[in-house]
């Protein structure tokens, strides 16, 4: 399942999930920042858990539920909050950051946010505006 839709793909099983989404599925909202699982720009949800899609061969998600930023359809309260509270500056980390924040769950405490987003690097905000966005999302 890709963003709630049953999806069949004919690709090399070892191709990175990130590349399959971007090149085969036209879903370019998921970004590459480092290619080694350090920056979290490629974060998406596999069965509701955040993963770095640059480290996942596509074969690993056969039969799983994959959710990307496009899957939120602009309706998630976090998306609106990131615009209102300055959580997105240059925007390149934003899709991954939002997906990681979705996985943190509803009404998190600041410590939970810090821990939940520790694998997502942002070079613009110093994270403060991201915390404000996540805490005020409703």
């Amino acid at each position: 399942m890709l963003n709630g839709r049953r999806t069949r793909l004919d690709v090399h099983p070892m191709k990175r999930l990130l590349d399959v989404l971007r090149e085969e599925c036209g879903l370019t909202g998921t970004k590459e920042g480092c290619g080694e699982g350090e920056c979290g720009a490629c974060t998406l949800l596999v069965d509701n858990r955040p993963v770095n899609s640059c480290l996942v061969p596509v074969a690993h998600v056969a039969g799983a539920r994959v959710m990307t930023i496009e899957g939120l359809r602009g309706r998630h309260p976090l998306q609106r909050a990131f615009v209102e509270h300055g959580g997105a500056q240059c925007g390149i980390c934003t899709p991954g950051m939002i997906m990681a924040a979705v996985a943190v769950g509803r009404k998190p405490a600041l410590d939970q946010i810090r821990t939940g987003l520790a694998g997502n690097l942002c070079r613009c905000t110093g994270y403060e505006a991201i915390y404000r966005s996540v805490m005020r999302a409703r």
Binding site: G29, L78, Q79, C90, G91, T94, L117, C124
Partner: protein
């Protein structure tokens, strides 16, 4: 897809601005007059929604790597593996069928990355000056085939120069003299010396450098378009004209949404754009060149390492009588912007302090390492790190308080800087210092922590060491000296049916250019923020507004736009835009930078008004040091900034928070390990930037003291936040008993620092 109703809602709120503006806390102390007045303004001072915000949070905005053109080739750069020498031979150990291959002989124009000195080749012909210097370019439709191509290069090596201090090749020297420094030393009770060192720093935008070059269909007079991630489309435009030997109108450069810059996309895009263009020119097909993270870190520019020596005369009560400062920067292998970085460095070398007798000597030299270049702060973080740590050491020596020594010497309105610039009413060093001291209870907290540090208070030595320190800094807005006059930047405003369209070459790189410019125009015209559109930074359409650097986009370009809007408003009179367009046809207003009448600058003598004005800031850091691992953890960060009037308080605050985090990384974590002229840790696994767990809570305050020549009183904000954190951290470490003169303050250095402090 962007949901239409979400978009609609956001437009509505942007228009009214009230809902989101009310929910954010006041960023300015409540007694500030400006904040009260700003409620009456239509757009300026409000936290309107970012122009491209919805596209960013929905993942629909297109960065360069998200774009593709029919028939597009992928490209790869073959780089040198030695720091110095000559290329003797190149062997292509692969089937070249289907490849486009470019070397220096394929360059139709001049083989340079045109900038200031034109000393850097686009592709090395024979001489190699650094590891990762580009030599050969390959393009192929299939990325896997491209990656597997094996190229062997044979070199004759020569001894590399790694020490900037002994390098005989000097890119630039600058001397600043004020008064008689020897007389100043004679008047001193105490003389304090110190050497301070700062390391490289990688900008580490999360989007790597990348471009796509698209040639026009072949013909007698075809041209080329380059799309890419960049700060300065007109820098790229000029470099491409010279490289390809093309006239103005045959080269078009279009900025795509840019995932961070921090200076790292000021001059470097001219290099990568040239490479993609050469391949596109030769193949006749679109060519995409996007670096991976390792290549970006190995090959692109970084912050200049610095060695700064201070010798300072001071009276017993803390007054500075003489400042003798020597600044050395490591330029790397080519000149890039080093001369200008040095300029900003020396112009900030005294810190925000008044002294009658000053001698500053600056030089930037060549080493066989990848060229260093622009990075937020641009020389000032290095020199102000040294000054601020030195000032604390002077206070220690005299046995006076770090706040007191700053109060005594801080520049005040009417004082003169090292270049003789007489400072205006917006000189706020004392205000930011006092506000930061008051807000943090600095003196009391310092005493409390000091008691905890007295010998015997924790005999088991199990508790972490704690310290608190501060820094006071300033930062010039806009280009140095006569730079703005030379740039002669232009901005245009076109009348539309709904309102106006902004045409500037200033780029949105996350800092909020589009939003802030639209607010200035909306406010001036008296129309809703949403009635102002912003054109893409496309050299085919927009005038040259100068580069998006030097904290100039709001204060300088924003002011030009304000003047465009003033004239547009006068032309409209009582007509609506629609009525005007029907009666008179299209209306486009273009204005050029105007130097404030009283500004004077003598570039030969380095005397006069170095900058239009300055921002002022005071940072306070409290930190703890683990006694086992020597890791330093900042636990609280406070910053008081005076940046004139913030046009968009939330965006301005975002600049301060983000720049401060980057400055804390510079202070504590970010170490570029150069081994044999090559960055040994060119990946995110071991070049560490701050994560959520490394960044302390931040308390940010902005004082608004309007600058008369800025739009609605605004000054620059982008760079200053990175100047203060490093010295505040090192001063906090000294307070905890650790004497460091070098950053980053990695555990290894902190451990050594403790030993030396107990010896001294």
């Amino acid at each position: 897809m962007i949901r239409a109703d979400l978009l609609q809602r956001s437009r509505l709120e942007g228009l009214q601005g009230s809902k989101s503006a009310d929910r954010v806390p006041a960023f300015v102390p409540s007694d500030n007059r400006l904040m009260t007045r700003s409620r009456r303004l239509n757009a300026v001072g409000r936290n309107v929604l970012r122009k491209e915000g919805i596209e960013k949070v929905t993942g629909t905005v297109r960065y360069i790597d998200d774009l593709s053109f029919p028939g597009m080739l992928h490209a790869r750069t073959i780089r040198s593996t030695i720091p110095a020498g000559e290329i003797v031979g190149i062997r292509l150990n692969f089937d070249t069928d289907g490849f486009t291959i470019v070397d220096h002989r394929d360059i139709p124009g001049r083989n340079v990355v045109a900038l200031i000195e034109d000393d850097q080749p686009s592709l090395a012909a024979r001489a190699v000056r650094h590891v990762a210097e580009p030599i050969l370019l390959l393009a192929h439709p299939d990325r896997d085939v491209l990656r597997s191509a094996d190229v062997e290069i044979e070199y004759r090596q020569t001894p590399p120069q790694y020490d900037a201090g002994t390098s005989p090749a000097i890119f630039k020297t600058i001397a600043i003299d004020k008064g008689d420094v020897e007389a100043g030393f004679r008047a001193a009770d105490v003389i304090v010396d110190g050497d301070y060192r700062t390391g490289h720093q990688e900008q580490l935008y999360i989007e790597t450098n990348g471009v796509i070059a698209v040639p026009d269909p072949a013909g007698a007079d075809h041209g080329i378009t380059v799309y890419g991630s960049m700060q300065c489309p007109y820098y790229v435009h000029r470099a491409l004209k010279i490289l390809l030997g093309l006239p103005d109108e045959k080269v078009r450069v279009v900025q795509t949404e840019t995932g961070g810059g921090f200076g790292g996309k000021e001059e470097y895009p001219s290099m990568i754009a040239g490479h993609a263009a050469l391949l596109a020119w030769k193949s006749g097909r679109p060519v995409k060149l996007v670096y991976d993270r390792v290549e970006d870190m190995l090959a692109t520019t970084k912050r200049h390492p610095g060695v700064i020596r201070h010798r300072t005369g001071v009276t017993r009560d803390g007054r500075l009588t003489a400042m003798d400062i020597d600044v050395l920067l490591d330029g790397g292998a080519y000149a890039t912007l080093s001369a200008v970085v040095l300029s900003r460095g020396v112009l900030h070398a005294t810190g925000p302090y008044g002294c009658d007798h000053v001698r500053i000597r600056g030089r930037v030299t060549m080493t066989n390492t990848p060229p260093n270049g622009a990075f937020r702060g641009f020389g000032a973080p290095q020199t102000q790190f040294a000054t601020e740590v030195h000032i604390d050491r002077i206070a220690d020596r005299l046995g006076i308080d770090p706040v007191r020594i700053r109060e005594v010497n801080a520049l005040r309105p009417g004082d003169t800087t090292a270049t003789g610039q007489r400072l205006g009413a917006d000189t706020s060093a004392l205000q930011v210092l006092r506000e930061a001291v008051k807000r943090t209870g600095f003196k009391r907290r310092r005493r409390q922590l000091s008691r905890g540090l007295t010998p015997g208070s924790d005999p088991s030595r199990t508790r972490p060491l704690r310290g608190i320190g501060l820094s006071l800094i300033f930062h010039g807005s806009g280009f140095t000296g006569g730079g703005e006059v030379k740039l002669a930047s232009r901005a245009s405003l076109a009348l539309t049916e709904r309102g106006a369209r902004i045409l500037v070459a200033s780029t949105e790189i996350g800092q909020g250019t589009r939003t802030m410019h639209a607010q200035i125009v909306a406010e001036t015209l008296g129309i809703p923020y949403d009635a102002v559109e912003v054109n893409a930074a496309d050299t085919g359409v927009v005038p040259d507004s100068g580069p998006t650097v030097a904290s100039r986009t709001c204060m300088i370009v924003g002011r030009i736009l304000q003047r465009c809007a003033e004239e547009m408003k006068a032309r409209l009179g009582r007509m609506t835009p629609k009525q005007y367009l029907r009666a008179h046809g299209p209306l486009m207003i273009t204005k050029e930078y105007e130097r404030p009448a009283e500004m004077r600058w003598d570039d030969a003598m380095y005397r006069g008004d170095a900058y239009g004005t300055y921002g002022w800031a005071c940072d306070v850091v409290e930190l703890e040091i683990d006694r086992d691992t020597w890791e330093v953890k900042p636990v609280m960060f406070t910053s008081v900034h005076e940046i004139g009037r913030p046009i968009h308080p939330l965006l301005a605050r975002g600049q301060i928070e983000g720049g401060s985090a980057q400055g804390l990384g510079y202070a504590l974590l970010e170490e570029v390990v150069m081994r044999d002229g090559r960055m040994a840790n060119a990946q995110l696994t071991n070049y560490i930037i701050p994560t959520t767990l490394d960044t302390p809570p931040m308390d940010i305050v902005m004082l608004g003291i309007p600058y008369p020549h800025g739009p609605f009183g605004a000054k620059g904000v982008g760079e200053m936040p990175i100047d203060g954190p490093a010295p505040a951290v090192v001063n906090a470490l000294r307070h905890a008993g650790i004497d460091l003169r070098e950053i980053p303050a990695t555990p290894e250095r902190v451990m050594r620092g403790e030993v030396s402090s107990f010896e001294s």
